[in-house]
Amino acid sequence: MSATLPVVASLFGSIPEPMVQWVVWPTIKFVIAFAIIMGIVAFTTLVERRVLGFMQARLGPNRVGPQGILQFVADPIKLLLKEDIVPAGAQKAAYFIAPMLPIIPAFLVFCLIPFGPPPTFAITDVNVGLLLILALTSTGVYGIILGGWASNNKFSLLGGLRSAAQMVSYEVPFGLSIVGVLMLSGSLSLVEIVHRQELGVWNVLPQLVGCFIFLVAMTAEVNRAPFDLPEAESELVAGFHTEYSGMKFAFFFLAEYASMLVNACLIVILFFGGWTLAIAGKGLTTETMQTMGWLGLSLGFLIFAAKVAFFMILYIWFRGTFPRYRFDQLMELGWKWMIPLALVNIVVTGIVILLVRNGGA
């Protein structure tokens, strides 16, 4: 790893080698990734408004800068300068902490995601990576529940409760839909999962059902339309963040978009071949990219970014297309359709793997 940037590495000469390898490099990569993600998140909000405008045959924001392109700078500035209101009767400490809670796991997860060919673009490669990602994303719900509760507002509390029920329910198909992929690749390491796909085919083909369930569950996990019940404007004013304004609101917003990004990255890695464009080991594989040097690595990153961008747009597309579910329909969909379907998918995958293995003998 330090061989790729010997000059920078020499700066850390006085620090013991394992410290450089395990602490310093990941930190630098994380800071860079953090900055990029903040930018992407802000930019996504602009894209969302423009795309929605296009879909609804209107213009969307177009005043700040050419084609409204600077809107993504103006929005955070507005939120930063806004008055910070704490409602009377709020649970002060909890109200204050709540917006920070979802941010932490959302950004920690980025440490575990490889954005491009390893080792340069993978901050870490943990052998239980996928499980850790699941674990971290599942803690994102606390901010929402706590925010809803601490606001001392009925609508907020309802939003928080809905969110808790929804996220716990969809956690199950979310996890189960991945099991098929794990069975095919035999590893929890994301790099390894991508590697298996470039040697065979993208998992989306053998795991079409799993991919579909994952897509639905990931949309529900981040409370996006058509599953945006926790913040349903027409029913709950704005749900759990009704009472939040200014930077605190911005934090919730940031966490939601960061989670969207995480999930988009995950679906690309798990089902769509990550940064590779290869079938059966032919095409742009990780190895090809690594031998091409910086050009290849950047190419891998760009391919990855393009795939992720598609799924980010897909989220927005969903929002522009589907009407919102009713809460009982949401639960029914999760428990009566998604979970059984995911279980059937696992069983079928297992049987097919066994048949192929024994039949190939």
């Binding site: 052998n127 239980v128 803690t139 606390y142 529940i145 706590l146 808790a164």
Partner: protein
């Protein structure tokens, strides 16, 4: 192994800090009046314990600890505390005279346990710590036999693999039946939670349910009804 957590200084600092947070927050769990605060400190304790698991080389269990406790159980706790609206609970006196007995017993228990456990007598280690990552690995390799036909041969070895693989092999080979029993009691829990938690509606409440929900009218029919088409 180049695990950074094996570095003495780092791991010592990690243990002291994380352990201190765990103890402090668990004291707060049992002393906070508001169950929501208790639940949040319990969550913190769980996360600290998960970090300690990872520091002991059981990263798979650590991840599962976060997933199960933080992602599932504590959300459920908070959900219920909020559902039955915690503010309606009467103020609970935490340290009354009778509860001092409990404190005394807890402290006494700790002293006994600490004296005994500090002496550090336990069974001789059966293996080196790497054994947490060792599993029986069955590899099938095609071998061409004398007649020219390809046959699969199985080789069974004990390899050092990841913690996840080792745990998986043990769970599905040695502990298969208890694992199945675990699925049974999870089923029982699910059925039981529904049986106990579901409220039977009485007659007046049943009337209050809109027809389209009670009768499960499909959305298309409802649309027709609303639009009059």
């Amino acid at each position: 192994m180049t695990d950074p957590l094996m570095l003495t200084g780092v791991s010592l600092a990690l243990f002291v800090i994380v352990g201190a947070i765990a103890v402090a927050s668990s004291i707060l769990v049992v002393s906070m009046r508001n169950p929501v605060h208790s639940a949040l400190f319990l969550l913190l304790t769980f996360l600290c314990v998960a970090i300690l698991f990872v520091s002991m080389g059981a990263e798979f269990v650590g991840a599962v600890q976060v997933l199960v406790y933080a992602g599932g159980i504590m959300v459920l706790f908070l959900f219920v505390v909020m559902l039955i609206n915690v503010k309606a609970l009467p103020k609970e006196k935490v340290f009354t005279a009778t509860s001092m007995m409990g404190v005394l017993m807890g402290v006494l228990l700790f002293i006994i346990l600490a004296i005994i456990l500090a002496s550090g007598t336990w069974a001789p280690a059966v293996n080196a710590p790497e054994n947490l990552r060792t599993a029986v690995v069955v590899k099938t390799t095609p071998v061409v036999d004398a007649g020219g036909a390809t046959i699969q041969t199985e080789t069974v070895t004990r390899d050092v693999v990841g913690n996840a693989e080792a745990v998986g092999m043990a769970l599905y080979r040695d502990y298969l039946v208890p694992f199945e029993v675990a699925s049974l009691f999870l089923l029982v829990a699910m059925v039981g939670a529904i049986v106990i938690g579901k409220r039977e509606l009485d007659a007046s409440e049943e009337e209050a349910i809109p027809e389209f929900i009670a009768k499960k009218v499909s959305d298309e029919d409802r649309l027709k009804e609303v639009t009059g088409a």
